[in-house]
């Protein structure tokens, strides 16, 4: 059993500070266990978001000694005996309270993306693909939406003003997943990645890859291939000339990004009890089909 000083950020949108706690740590424990011990003993009002304790739900993202990490996967044995452990909320997103941040930015960006679109006429149940063809997309399905990559990305971490123009690495892997998908029929995903997602803001410094707990090769397998696909599409001299002649919004298949107001998905600011849906709680059923980004196959 070892003793550690835990320096935890306490506060909300109006301000806060780092508070020190002396806490004992047992063998095999992770940072989240220690935070739970703090809740149980010294500070019952400490806010921390978690669910699975197994590195699979992506809820417990925070910054531990300045590094974006999952609290449930950060072993206490990785710290030296008696080392002070500083735990702060994700910096890039608005804080709600203590270690809990409002990550709805990411859901907003996700909602703006056109969904998977199989070729017209192909009904669910008729999808057939070869394993080699879906392999690349499958790597990106490992994403647990912890948003550590979004948080570490300096494009928005250090430049809040880039948020409207930049979707971030988690959405770039989504873009790559769909663009590489053997059954996705949209042809404008490269254009969307460049124009609406702000792929060009990424300077491939690879911090997203460095922090991804699922070890997705975000930069090498998604961002760089997408950049190369944009080059095919965009910087190829012939295509470029074509675009000078025809205006972009007249090009077939071009989509303007939907701009919708962002929803707070957090319980604390919600006007009702219970969790909100990231898609909004004021949705009436059946859903108005015009506002959906899904495309349903039609019966012929």
């Amino acid at each position: 059993m070892a003793r550690h000083t835990f320096r935890v950020w306490r506060g909300d949108a109006n301000g806060g500070q780092l508070s020190d706690y002396e806490v004992e740590v047992n063998e095999g424990e992770v940072v989240l266990d220690v935070l739970h011990r703090l809740q149980a003993t010294q500070t019952p009002d400490l806010a921390v978001r978690w669910n699975c304790k197994a590195g699979k739900c992506g809820s417990c993202s925070m910054e531990i000694n300045g590094k974006p990490k999952l609290a449930c996967m950060t072993r206490m044995s990785t710290f030296a005996d008696g080392e002070t452990v500083t735990v702060t909320p994700l910096r890039t997103f608005p804080v709600i309270r203590d270690l809990v941040t409002d990550v709805s930015f990411n859901f907003q960006k996700l909602r703006e993306m056109p969904a998977f679109a199989p070729p017209p006429g192909l009904k669910p149940g008729e999808y057939r693909m070869q394993q080699v063809d879906v392999e690349r997309s499958q790597e990106f399905r490992k994403c647990i939406e912890c948003f550590l990559c979004q948080n570490v990305c300096h494009v928005i971490r250090d430049h809040e003003e880039n948020k409207p123009a930049f979707s971030g690495p988690r959405l770039f892997i989504r873009a790559a997943e769909l663009d590489m998908h053997p059954l996705d029929a949209r042809t404008d995903r490269k254009e969307f990645a460049k124009e609406e997602q702000g792929l060009g803001y990424c300077n491939i410094t690879k911090c997203c890859t460095e922090v991804c707990p699922e070890h997705i090769k975000i930069t090498d397998n998604a961002i760089i291939p997408m950049k190369e696909r944009v080059v095919d599409n965009r910087y190829d001299p012939l295509v470029w000339l074509g675009r000078k002649i025809f205006r972009r919004d007249q090009m077939p298949g071009y989509l303007g990004g939907p701009t919708q107001e962002r929803l707070p998905v957090s319980e604390i600011v919600a006007d009702r009890a219970g969790a909100n849906s990231p898609y909004g709680d004021d949705i009436t059923f059946p859903l108005p089909t015009e506002s959906l980004t899904y495309e349903h196959t039609k019966e012929d």
Partner: protein, 274 residues
């Protein structure tokens, strides 16, 4: 709360304030080691390259019955001042045109400057954007590669095509150096030249643009089995692209210094055959 407003996300004030953490970053590890090594390594290499290409001496070694080595820094030697048998593509550049390898060096520089790995390296360590993960960007404004000049990084692919041509020239150089006026023979210099060329090819082929052109751009691998296999092979090399980038800087400098040393007569080239 409504979803129908057309107001963009950023315009909404909401609770949207970040945690007020006064420290610029809270990393406790030695995150500055990597940028420091990168600056030292790349700067040293560039200074050495500049010095030797402008010094114009001891770049061609010839001995005995026509055994010769030409350093990659001067290949192809196209200046009228180049020794005649070193010139692969003729000698036509006026003597004031520097460097002597005016055809290849600018292209190789462009290739490495726009390389995805080197971009990462110098954006981080020279431009501090960001110096390390979760350490703040050293600049107040940031537009990434969306504008001129950095948007030109997207032309890396064309630099890759050029680099393939230069690698072919380097390969011819390495092969030619096995033959003197009286036939085949080789020494330590040959082994170094061949090793260098092999690694240069590995670096060039592991390029992300190459990976894309060869197979990455396909949607259906199953319809292109040969390209899929090539892509798989390149993908494997590609995971080592960073290492290859550094190793080839090392071998280029090693070969260059070795040829300089034997041409300047500091020691002699051990010959193993003829």
């Amino acid at each position: 709360m409504t979803t129908t407003s057309a107001e963009p996300a950023a315009a909404r004030p909401a609770l949207g304030r970040r945690a007020a953490i006064s420290a610029k970053h809270l990393r406790t590890d030695r995150w500055w080691v990597e940028p420091v090594y990168t600056v030292v390594g790349l700067s040293a290499w560039l200074i050495w390259g500049l010095v030797h290409t402008l010094l114009i001496r001891d770049y061609y070694f010839i001995e005995g019955p026509g055994y010769h080595y030409l350093t990659p820094f001067f290949s192809p030697c196209v200046n009228v001042e180049c020794p005649p048998d070193s010139a692969l593509l003729g000698r036509w550049a006026p003597s004031w045109v520097l460097p002597y390898a005016i055809l290849s060096l600018p292209l190789l520089l462009l290739f490495r400057l726009t390389c995805y790995y080197y971009r990462r390296a110098y954006y981080r360590s020279y431009w501090l954007s960001p110096p390390a993960c979760a350490v703040p960007d050293g600049h107040a404004k940031y537009t990434g590669e969306t504008r001129f000049p950095l948007i030109m990084q997207n032309l890396h692919r064309y630099a890759f095509y050029a680099a393939v041509l230069v690698s072919i020239i380097n390969t011819i150089d390495a092969v030619r150096s096995f033959w003197g006026t009286e036939g085949f023979g080789f020494g330590l210099g040959n082994i170094l030249l061949v090793g260098n060329v092999v690694l240069l090819w590995a670096y060039t082929i592991s390029c992300h643009s190459c990976r894309h052109i060869v197979g990455g751009r396909l949607k259906h691998f199953s319809r292109h089995p040969v390209r899929y296999r090539a892509w798989t092979f390149i993908s494997r090399l590609n995971t080592r692209h960073k290492e290859l980038a550094w190793i080839t800087l090392g071998t280029l400098a090693l070969v260059d210094i070795y040829i300089l040393a034997i041409a300047a007569g500091w020691f002699s080239d051990p010959r193993f055959f003829n």
